[in-house]
Amino acid sequence: MMNRGILQALQKIYPADRLLTRDVELLPYESDALTAFNAKPGAVVLPVNEEEIIDTVRLCHQLALPFVARGSGTSLSGGSLPIPEGLTIGLNRLNRIKKIDPLQRIAVVEPGVINLHITEAAQPYGLYYAPDPSSQSICTIGGNIAFNSGGAHCLKYGMTSNHVLAMKVVLADGTVTRFGGESVDGVGIGPDLVGLFVGSEGLFGIALEITVRLMPQPELYQTVLAAYDDLGRAGDAVSMVVASGLLPGAMEIMDRLAIKAAEASVSAGYPDAEALLIVELEGEALQVEAEFEQLLGIIEKSSAIEVRVAQNEEERTRIWKGRKGAFSAVGRLSPDYIVQDGVVPRSRLGEALVEIGALKDKYQLDVANVFHAGDGNLHPLILYDGREAGALERAEALAGEILALCISLGGSITGEHGIGMEKRDYLPAMFSEEEIDIMEGLRRAIDPNEIANRGKMFPGGEAPALSQHGVHPLERAGLISRE
């Protein structure tokens, strides 16, 4: 329960129905999609406009009250996990698309707007919002900004950061500032502040208004699904595609366990194989058709055991449905899972997968692999049963070894899910003490009280409780399902 004085101050900003303090009301906010952790916030506020957010952040700064901004709580790294006894600022009600300007190809949105809603609003103009995390029908732009979220289609046109042109933000000390503009050059002159803010994991402050660029819908997609009897061969096929000079919109791989899960959940009709590779070309029809012929030639030489070409939009959708639903599908195979998000240089994917195979034997846990092969971004899903004593700890130890592996191969511990709460102890494996010092210094220069998302990204600090086992609180409350 929060201190009376603080509550009274919050009551000046929020009516009772948007200031949640009772246990039952707080329950849905206790964790995010990293369900192994939970913490009880002191209170949750639900602002409906940016003035309320600004007032709240200023109040938090004054009182040195830790806060965490929350979109839809789908973070896989514990980024939106509440700070025990701190304030959770729920942004879902700031969900207005303020402007779609098809001529300049931009949209101006509030932070709580759902990723997919931008594309839906842009569709009538033949435009779309490119970054497509698998969670796009539920996650918010604010959350995407915090993690620089990506998706299957980020190979060619980049991740969230590459699609944000301007922002208005309130920094953690209450300063309101704007950067960037409606030109596609974004900030263009002076340091790229959009680039700095995106990926700051909620530690700099809260994004209040975001201008994103829209892209014209490609005239044609051509999608091929190739099956392999060996994961390594699928990886080799990726290298061959890259070497050919083609630039696909997406290149994704799933291994046997992930295929099995996807089959069980959405009946994508995938072939029975050790590995599946999805490659998609997109763009001007004439160009795509010619390139697709070249691509099929490469796939043919890649010792695929089966090759399927999506003949129409329906077949394409089905291929993607299995891939995009893979995370949640794996959830059906196992009561609990941890998703890792390490990156390795593309040419070392094969090595990484062999190592992960060995590690899963060592820890006697199942690991399903679904990954963005085009940019070397792995997503091993480590399956465990939280009810089994020591299973979570084993899963975490395995996860840690995978991260160490990614670094030793010259990669990164996270490609798109962020450090959050989960990987903060691994930050020193990637950055020197001095580099972390500098980042922490920057954090303090913006947020002297270290109130914004305290306990995340940087090693140390108080840790929320590790729970034995659990589904997402929203799921428990019947608000979302894993479909």
Binding site: P102, G126, L171, T177, G195, S239, V343, F431
Partner: protein
């Protein structure tokens, strides 16, 4: 004015620690960025040059900041790859200078600018600390993304010594077309049409009457929309045909012509002579209002009308025009007190970075 040419990071660190004020130049290709640095030690990074690592299969390249752009471009070309942000001064600039000033040419239109292709950097900050930001793989979201912050940072926050980029495969063939319009508004409508269409252009620039060599000399010349398509031999001709047909579907276009595709044609600065050369970041919708104020100047609207390049002998007049349109400009050549003109930038967040990386204000 003292000039230093450090040859290693250690030498550079020592130099920063020993100096009160430091100013970095790459190759000095943008003289206006080096104004108002009187008394500062000038650091020439051309001694820290060379490609460190280029992995075509990874689409990544790491180079020292003092390396000439042309050296990296040549290495990439050999493997059929390129820097999609299209360094503005491919012959004269260094890589570090291109990043620090964030200058992209017309091909930025296709895939994005410097910020979209920088992956990481090694820097020396105002405290003399040498450290890394970002990473070396094409995807990485660990830690704050200070590498993007360096884009456009003008050497005022940290000195870049090494840079890692994402690169892309290039295509072998190009065709360039010129569409003539009597009025800016008509040309702008054509840009809007392209914006909402699925035609994938490699570059799209707008040249005002009497500025482009092709228009020059003719009285009452037209606005010329320059469009470039890139691709492979087998489909390019048909794509050009389709695009041309779509662009001339109504009568607004007076004339279309095929232009000789050359580096000169796609150098947005090619014909911009004047004492001062200025980059302006501009939303296309503001072009008519802005152009009306600077119509007597040589100018070109590049990257689909999102970046304006203007040459002028009267910087005060341009400054006034920018201010009245709510725009900011970056002066690249000519003697100015400050390279930034027009509306000042809200620097609240950048100042925090300055406090951390250069609290003594050494880097100018």
């Amino acid at each position: 004015m003292t000039m230093y040419a450090p040859r290693s990071v250690t030498e550079l660190q020592a130099l920063v620690l020993d100096s009160e004020r430091i100013h970095v130049i790459g190759n000095g290709s943008k003289p206006a960025l080096h104004c108002a640095v009187n008394g500062a030690a000038i650091v020439d990074l051309s001694g820290m040059s060379g490609i460190i690592e280029y992995q075509p299969a990874e689409y990544t390249a790491t180079v020292r900041a003092g390396a000439p752009v042309r050296e990296l471009s040549a290495a990439l070309r050999e493997k059929g790859q390129y820097l999609p942000f299209d360094p503005l001064l491919p012959e004269a600039a260094t890589i570090g200078g291109t990043v620090a000033s964030n200058l992209s040419g017309s091909r930025r239109f296709r895939y994005g600018g410097v910020r979209d292709f920088i992956l990481g950097a090694q820097v020396v900050d105002g405290e003399g600390r040498a450290f890394g930001v970002g990473g070396k793989v094409v995807k990485n979201s660990a830690g704050f993304d200070l590498s993007k912050f360096l884009v456009g940072s003008m050497g005022k926050y940290a000195i870049m010594t090494e840079l890692t980029f994402k690169v892309f495969p290039d295509v072998p063939r190009f065709r360039s077309l010129g569409f003539h319009y009597e009025e800016l508004e008509e040309a702008l409508s054509a840009i809007y049409f392209i914006n909402q269409s699925a035609y994938e252009l490699d570059a799209l620039d707008l040249a005002p009457p009497s500025v482009h060599p092709i228009n020059r000399g003719k009285k009452n010349g037209n606005w010329m929309l320059l469009a470039r398509l890139a691709g492979f031999d087998d489909t390019l001709p048909r794509r050009v045909e389709r695009f041309t047909a779509a662009m001339t579907r109504d009568t607004a276009t007076i004339r279309v012509e095929e232009l000789h595709d050359s580096a000169a044609l796609w150098n947005p600065l090619a014909d911009l002579t004047g004492e001062f050369l200025v980059k302006v970041v501009i939303p296309p919708k503001q072009l008519p209002a802005f152009d009306a104020l600077i119509a007597h100047n040589r100018r070109r609207y590049s990257v689909g009308g999102n970046i304006a390049w203007a040459a002028t002998d009267d910087i005060a007049q341009l400054d006034t025009a920018l201010t009245s349109c709510g725009l900011t400009g970056l002066c690249l050549s000519g003697a100015v007190d400050s390279a930034l003109i027009g509306v000042p930038i809200d620097n609240a967040l950048a100042e925090r970075v300055k406090q951390v990386l250069d609290p003594l204000g050494k880097l100018v």
